[in-house]
Structure formats: structure tokens, C-alpha cells
């Protein structure tokens, strides 16, 4: 190695070293800060959390009660991410249905020539691995396991106020149950739950009800995102259960939808199912 090459190697990692040193110097005091952890919020929740929210699981109380607005934002992030991911994947196939419908056909923008993706740039189209991804064993096991996983997902979702878990976690389990059903389903005998259209509708409705649940407080309770169920005489924990169910269905449908979209892309054969909704 000539000194020149050593120098150029050093030169090329110089930006990395600079940024690491800068970031490290800033972050180390924050990581090593050792003031005692504040306990005001903890004490308050320990004393009054159950009375105020109705949930024994204090994390659920914070997540869906005190700071439910954050959770709404998080759900929206998930919604946009799923919708955007599916849109980006779907358009890769040249299909327009699921993502943004581009209708400016024939417009003379030169950039449209670039838009076709694989065509313009000098990339060899990568070969899809067409190994047999479905075996009989896989079908039998996932097909039988799917309903069990679904039931477990509903359990996690419904008991989030008492035990660890909740709408989001339950929703993810439900989504994996849906994907299992989709993997195990025999041709022609699949349940409606694994159809992309049904999932998209379920997700849209659940999102609508989530917004509605936040809204109802404005009219029935005393303000946005208030526990309006308590205002009409239902137990106050009902609000958290309601949000758990809505979020669980929304997350389950959304992630399940994304999983099926990705699955059908890898398998190639069932790809169109996602797109002609």
C-alpha cells in the first residue's frame, strides 16, 4: 500500500470520523446523565390512574387514555406507511389500482419517460426467486394455525386494559393470523378475510370510527378525545376497550393487507389479486 492510497483511504473515511466524533461528543452527556428519574407522573398514576382511566394496566391507561392523542398520531403514521408502501409496490408492477392513480396519460412531460422505472435506467431486471415457497406442510400448518392465532390476537386486543398487550399488539397478532390464513388457504376455498379488498375496507372503516370516537367527545362529553362513555353512564374503562378494539381491527387489517400484498409480490402468481380492487 502506497502512502498515497493510505491517504486516500483516510480521506474517504474522514467525513464518517468527523460526524461520529461530533455526534458522540454531544450524546455522551445525555446518555450518562444521572439525575434521579422523576417520579411525579408515576406516583400520580399509581394512585389515581385506575380511578381516572379504569384500566389496571397503567401503560394502557397512558397510551389510550391520558395520551390517546399521541396514539391517534401513531395510528395515522401506520396508516400512511401501509398505504404508501402498498402504493409504491403496486406501481412497481405498472399497475395503478392500489396506489395513486396517475391519470395524466399522454402528457408530454419528458420526465414521464423516466417514470416507467425499470425501462429507462440501465439495470438488468433482477431475477425473482421462483423457488417453491408453498409446500403442503406449510399449507396444512398455517391453515390450521391461522384461526388459533386469530383468536389469540382477539384475546390480546380485548384484555389490553387488564394485562400486557392491547389494541396494537393484538392487531399485529391478528395480522399474522390473517397472513397465515392466506398462506394456508386452498385455492378457491379461502376465507373472505384474506381478500385485499375486504381488508382495505375494514381498515378504512376502523380509521373512520377512530376519528369518530375522538369526535364524539366533542358532542357527548366535554371536549375532544374525552372519555365520552363515562358521560352516558357506561364504565369509564369502556373507552379504553373501545379504542383497543378499533385500533386492533385497524392495525390487523392494515398490516395484514401489507403482508398479503408483499406475499403476492414475492410469489408473483397471485400478484394481480392485490391490484384489481
Amino acid at each position: 500500500m502506497t502512502p498515497r492510497r493510505v491517504f486516500s483511504a483516510l480521506w474517504s473515511i474522514l467525513p464518517l470520523v468527523i460526524s461520529l466524533v461530533a455526534v458522540g461528543a454531544i450524546l455522551i452527556p445525555i446518555f450518562l446523565e444521572s439525575t434521579p428519574w422523576p417520579v411525579e407522573a408515576r406516583n400520580h398514576l399509581e394512585d389515581q390512574g385506575v380511578a381516572e382511566s379504569g384500566a389496571q394496566n397503567l401503560v394502557s391507561a397512558v397510551y389510550l387514555g391520558y395520551r390517546a392523542f399521541d396514539t391517534l398520531g401513531e395510528t395515522i403514521v401506520l396508516l400512511v406507511a401501509v398505504s404508501g408502501t402498498i402504493g409504491i409496490i403496486a406501481r412497481a408492477k405498472g399497475a395503478l389500482a392500489k396506489g395513486f392513480d396517475r391519470e395524466d396519460k399522454g402528457s408530454p412531460v419528458p420526465a414521464v419517460a423516466l417514470a416507467a422505472g425499470t425501462t429507462s435506467l440501465s439495470a438488468p431486471p433482477p431475477r425473482l426467486r421462483r423457488a417453491k415457497t408453498r409446500t403442503d406442510l406449510l399449507e396444512v400448518v398455517t391453515g390450521k394455525l391461522g384461526p388459533v392465532v386469530l383468536v389469540f390476537g382477539f384475546y390480546v386486543m380485548l384484555y389490553g386494559h387488564l394485562s400486557p398487550g392491547g389494541g396494537f399488539q393484538g392487531g399485529v397478532v391478528i395480522a399474522s393470523g390473517i397472513v397465515f390464513l392466506a398462506l394456508g388457504g386452498k385455492e378457491g376455498a379461502s376465507t373472505r378475510l384474506t381478500e385485499a379488498g375486504v381488508l382495505a375496507r375494514l381498515e378504512a372503516m376502523a380509521f373512520f370510527f377512530l376519528v369518530l370516537a375522538a369526535f364524539l367527545g366533542m358532542f357527548m362529553g366535554s371536549g375532544f378525545f374525552t372519555n365520552f362513555l363515562a358521560g352516558v353512564g357506561l364504565p369509564s374503562v369502556g373507552f379504553i376497550i373501545l379504542l383497543n378494539i378499533i385500533i386492533g381491527l385497524k392495525v390487523g387489517a392494515g398490516i395484514g393487507f401489507m403482508g398479503i400484498a408483499m406475499l403476492s409480490r414475492v410469489e408473483g402468481a397471485k400478484g394481480e389479486e392485490v391490484n384489481h380492487d
Binding site: 467525513p15 450524546l27 391520558y66 400512511v80 395513486f100 391519470e103 408530454p108 419528458p110 366533542m218
Partner: protein
């Protein structure tokens, strides 16, 4: 119903509209889809105006709606505050988003999915403007961010995917730093609301020491990424240049300013916030000049506009930082803040208009290169535009951005620079004005008649090519924005008075008098008109200078400077480090 019940309408109505649009997408039957989508857009972009009008009296009285979301216990709940600042930011957001959505009917991506994501972004803007909780700010910024990545990628070009990816990576990383900043503050004070953190820090010896300062630096830098000031602007030009036109309009017009004004709430409350604002103001002044030089060097018309966004946001940040540094409760601070806000508002209008009208012209002509395209007005005429709406609206916007009276840009730049007179930032901003003038003379060449000698003009060589007619929705949106540019220009003094009035209700300012504000700057005086004349002459000189071999060589060097993904992160690290060092050692 009392206002504090329905005030969240500005956040929730766009969300409801988005939900309706998602339902339209999921249950798509051809006839109903469009109807539901338009209903969603009306609910999301139209109805919030009712809330805005209903809260105006309260806000005008200097009042603010504040409390805890959902009336949960304040020990853990999320605080919000809807005051004059939030009202103004919402005004900015809903006006530009409405016009851009109408424009999107005529071009670019559309359909219920686009409408839904667009509405979610608008809702995130409203939420960002009124939250008073640091973790909620984090969530709002993430929602805003993810919606904008998706929208940028929706133009379906490889370049836009790369732009969206770079933006995602750099701002996703910055948001993790933001999270660490939240950690620092929560660990020190035990609160997440701005007010709680401020009181908590004030009670600590030395304001929480190094950790407090560094947490502030991390949060400020992560927001500054979104605002795109000097070391941290690298992601912006590609994404704004390659996004669909209506998305570019909203990204440039609204999306990069909302975090700035949300940040001002944090900085005005926290100790050392004034110093952080001061440094950002300096960076803003430098940004204004540097970005305009790069803009002057660009070939692509939309990229030129994107660099202008960086430059104009530099103006806003320069005045904003100076206002934070002196505090908005002082009369100078209120003047500067009002100037900064008005420029942000007016820039949203005229830059939105520029993106839309240049977008229409370049789409119709099929050419985006400033050096190639000529006679865009005639091409548009051939495409069926009898009345030259696009040409006229382009020139309205160009006059506005170059600060020619009586357009709104003239008014806001006058107000903005008035408070900075005599400082070194003022001279930088003046020099940037010359560059702006020069680059818009350059850009306006796309509307000049073609030279006889050039045969490169694509449409002239192919006169039989069928032209797509310009969609009426585009013209309506452009017309609305142009009227807004002229109208706000004429009504600027009244707006300025209103803005200063509204800012007087900002945090910490309660109870202080603003009597000194009577001396608001005279808009049309010999002095200001003289400055305008100098800018005009100087701008023409710069334009001619850029045309000389020496000038164009220099611009080519600027245009072809190396850019890389890694550079984004190196400049981010250096930016955070610089801010921290400034706060630690000042």
C-alpha cells in the same frame, strides 16, 4: 358550544375528511368514489374555516385556548394552546393547501389515496401549530414527515424515490435525536409539556447543566432539518423539484414553516432558547444569500424554484431568530416576528403560485430547462389558453418574490428588513435580494418570445403535435393564488397590524404592553422605493454579470458541485455540534 370544545376541529376535520377519502378508496364504485372524495376534501379543507372564523374574535382579544387534550389529568395528559400564533399558522396552512388541492385536480397524482394523504398532512400541520407537549410535537412531526415522503414519492420518478429516501433517512435519524432530547428533558424535569419543562428547568441549578443545553440543541437541530436552513438544507432541493407540482407548492409553502413557528413556542419558553434562536437567525441570513447563488446557477426551472424556497426561508428565519433573541414581548421582537410571519405567509402564496404556474407552463411545453424553453406563453395559447392566465400569474408571482410594489412580497420584505436595519444580516439579505431579482429575470425567459436563430425550442420544431388543453382547475387555483398575492399586497398594512396584535398574545407576552408598535414601518416611502430601485438595478447587473463567460463558469462550478448522501449526515452532525458548542460556550 364553547370554543375549547370544537377547537380541535382544525385537526380532526381534515382527519375526518381523510377517513372519508379512505372509505371512498376502499369501497370504490366509480360513481360514488369521486363524490365521497370531494366530500372528504370539503370536510377537510372547507369546514375548518368555520372553526377559524369562530375563534377569530377570541384570538383577536389576545385570548388563547389552552388545556389538556381530552381533559385528562394534567400530570400526564397532553397540553395544547391555540393562540394568535396557531391561528396564523392555520390560516397559512389551509389557504395554500386548499388552492393546491384544487390544482391537483388538474394535474399530477390524484385519486382518493392522494387526497387522503394530503388531508392527513394538513391535519398534522394544524396539530403541530397548536400542540404544547414535546412528545406530541414528535408525533406530529413524524406524521407530517411520513405523509410528505409518500407524497414526494408519488410523482413516480426514480429521482423522486431517491429524494424521498434521502429525506426519510436524514429526517428519520434526526427524529431519533429528537427522541433523545425528549429523554434529556423528561429525565431532568419529569414533564413533557413545554410549560412544565420550562418551570422544571428553571428550578434546577444551572438550568439542568450540560444535559439541558444539549437536549435543547438536539430538539432544535431536529426541527431545523425540517425547516431546511443552512447546513441542513441538502434534502430539500431534490424533493421539492421532483415532487408533483401541487405537492411542491404545499411543501415549500407551508410544510417547512410550520415546524419553525412550532419551535418558537419551545424556544420562547425554555432558558437559552433565545440564544438558540439567535444562532438560527444568523444561519438564516447566510442561507438566504448562499441559496440564491445556487438558485441562479440552476438549469431546471423547478429546481431553481426549490433553491429559492431555501433562500426565502432564510429571510424568514433571519427575522424570526432575531425576534426570538430579543423576545416577542419587546416591541422590536414583535415587529420582527410579525415581519417573519407575514413573509412566511406571503411566500407560501407566491411560491405556491410560482410552482403551479411554472408547472403548468413546463408541463404544456414539455421542457423544464430554463435555457431551452422559450415562448411558453405562446405554447400555452396554442394549448387552448385564450386568456393568458398562466403568463399573468407567473409574472404576478415573480414580481412578488422579487419584492416589487405593490405585490405582497414587497410589503413583507420591507417589514422584515425594517427591524434588521443596521445589522450585518441586513446587508446579506440585501445582497440576496439582488440575486433573487437576477434569477427571476433568468426564469422569466421561459415566457420570452423565442429567438429567430434558435431551433432548439422543442414545440416549434413540431407544430403539429397535439397539445393537452390546460385543465380549468389549474387556472382556477392559479387565479385564486394570484388574487391573494395582489390582495394581500394591497392590504399588507392592515394585515401587519393584525399580525402584531395576534403575536402579542404569544407565550410569555401576556400582560405586556405593545404601545411602541404604533411606529410600524411606512410601506411606501422614499426610502423603501429607493431600495426597490436599487434592487432592480442591481439585479439586472447581476443577471448580466452571470451571462458573461466568467460568471457562467462560476455558476457551472456551483451547479456541478459534488453532492452525496453522506454529506447530508455530515452536515447534520456538524450542525448539531455547532449549535451545542454555541449554546455551551456563549
Amino acid at each position: 358550544m364553547s370554543p375549547d370544545r370544537f377547537i380541535f376541529g382544525v385537526v380532526m376535520l381534515p382527519l375526518l375528511g381523510a377517513a372519508i377519502a379512505f372509505i371512498a378508496k376502499a369501497f370504490g364504485r366509480d360513481r360514488w368514489t369521486k363524490g365521497l372524495e370531494y366530500l372528504g376534501a370539503f370536510v377537510g379543507l372547507g369546514l375548518p374555516w368555520v372553526v377559524m372564523v369562530a375563534t377569530l374574535p377570541l384570538v383577536l382579544e389576545g385570548g388563547a385556548l389552552e388545556g389538556v387534550v381530552g381533559l385528562w389529568n394534567p400530570a400526564v395528559g397532553i397540553f395544547y394552546r391555540f393562540d394568535g400564533l396557531a391561528w396564523m399558522v392555520n390560516l397559512l396552512g389551509f389557504s395554500v393547501a386548499g388552492a393546491a388541492w384544487i390544482y391537483s385536480l388538474g394535474s399530477g397524482p390524484k385519486g382518493p389515496a392522494f387526497t387522503a394523504v394530503f388531508l392527513i398532512q394538513t391535519s398534522a400541520l394544524a396539530a403541530t401549530s397548536m400542540t404544547a407537549d414535546i412528545f406530541n410535537l414528535f408525533v406530529c412531526l413524524e406524521v407530517m414527515g411520513i405523509a410528505s415522503y409518500v407524497l414526494i414519492a408519488s410523482s413516480d420518478k426514480p429521482g423522486s424515490f431517491l429524494a424521498a429516501f434521502s429525506y426519510l433517512m436524514v429526517s428519520g435519524t434526526a427524529m431519533v435525536f429528537f427522541l433523545l432530547g425528549i429523554y434529556g428533558f423528561y429525565r431532568l424535569t419529569g414533564y413533557l409539556s413545554y410549560q412544565g419543562i420550562a418551570t422544571g428547568l428553571a428550578s434546577l441549578p444551572n438550568f439542568g447543566g450540560v444535559t439541558g443545553i444539549l437536549s435543547l440543541a438536539l430538539i432544535t437541530a431536529a426541527v431545523a432539518i425540517r425547516v431546511a436552513i443552512m447546513p441542513l438544507y441538502g434534502w430539500l432541493p431534490d424533493s421539492h423539484a421532483l415532487a408533483p407540482h401541487p405537492v411542491s407548492a404545499v411543501l415549500s409553502g407551508v410544510l417547512i414553516k410550520t415546524p419553525l413557528f412550532a419551535l418558537s413556542r419551545v424556544l420562547l419558553l425554555l432558558p437559552l432558547g433565545a440564544q438558540a434562536g439567535e444562532l438560527m437567525g444568523y444561519a438564516g441570513a447566510i442561507t438566504a444569500l448562499v441559496a440564491v447563488v445556487i438558485a441562479l446557477a440552476q438549469k431546471d426551472s423547478k429546481r431553481l424554484l426549490a433553491y429559492h424556497t431555501v433562500s426565502q426561508i432564510g429571510y424568514v428565519v433571519a427575522a424570526w431568530g432575531a425576534a426570538i433573541a430579543v423576545g416577542v414581548h419587546t416591541s422590536l421582537g414583535a415587529l420582527l416576528m410579525a415581519g417573519a410571519f407575514l413573509h412566511a405567509l406571503f411566500h407560501a402564496l407566491f411560491k405556491g403560485l410560482l410552482f403551479l404556474s411554472v408547472g403548468t407552463a413546463t408541463d404544456t411545453a414539455g421542457e423544464r430547462n430554463v435555457y431551452q424553453l422559450r415562448g411558453a406563453g405562446r405554447i400555452l395559447g396554442r394549448a387552448g389558453e385564450r386568456f393568458p392566465v398562466t403568463t399573468l400569474t407567473f409574472f404576478v408571482a415573480a414580481l412578488a418574490i422579487t419584492a416589487m410594489p405593490p405585490m405582497n412580497g414587497f410589503a413583507s420584505k420591507t417589514f422584515l428588513t425594517y427591524g434588521l436595519k443596521g445589522t450585518w444580516q441586513y446587508s446579506l439579505l440585501f445582497a440576496a435580494s439582488l440575486g433573487t431579482m437576477a434569477s427571476f429575470i433568468k426564469l422569466s425567459r421561459i415566457f420570452w418570445p423565442p429567438k429567430k436563430s434558435t431551433l432548439t425550442e422543442p414545440v416549434e420544431t413540431n407544430p403539429d403535435k397535439p397539445m393537452d388543453p390546460v385543465h380549468p382547475a389549474r387556472k382556477i387555483a392559479q387565479g385564486l393564488l394570484a388574487l391573494a398575492c395582489i390582495g394581500t399586497g394591497l392590504g399588507a398594512p392592515a394585515l401587519f397590524a393584525l399580525t402584531t396584535e395576534l403575536f402579542s398574545s404569544g407565550p410569555r407576552a401576556a400582560g405586556t404592553t405593545l404601545g411602541a408598535l404604533a411606529r410600524a414601518p411606512q410601506l411606501y416611502s422614499v426610502d423603501t422605493l429607493q431600495t426597490t430601485l436599487w434592487i432592480l438595478i442591481g439585479g439586472i447587473m447581476v443577471f448580466l454579470g452571470a451571462g458573461t463567460p466568467w460568471g457562467s463558469g462560476l455558476l457551472r462550478v456551483v451547479r456541478e458541485r459534488p453532492r452525496s448522501f453522506r454529506g447530508l449526515f455530515v452536515s447534520f452532525s456538524l450542525g448539531v455540534a455547532g449549535l451545542s458548542a454555541w449554546l455551551l460556550f456563549i
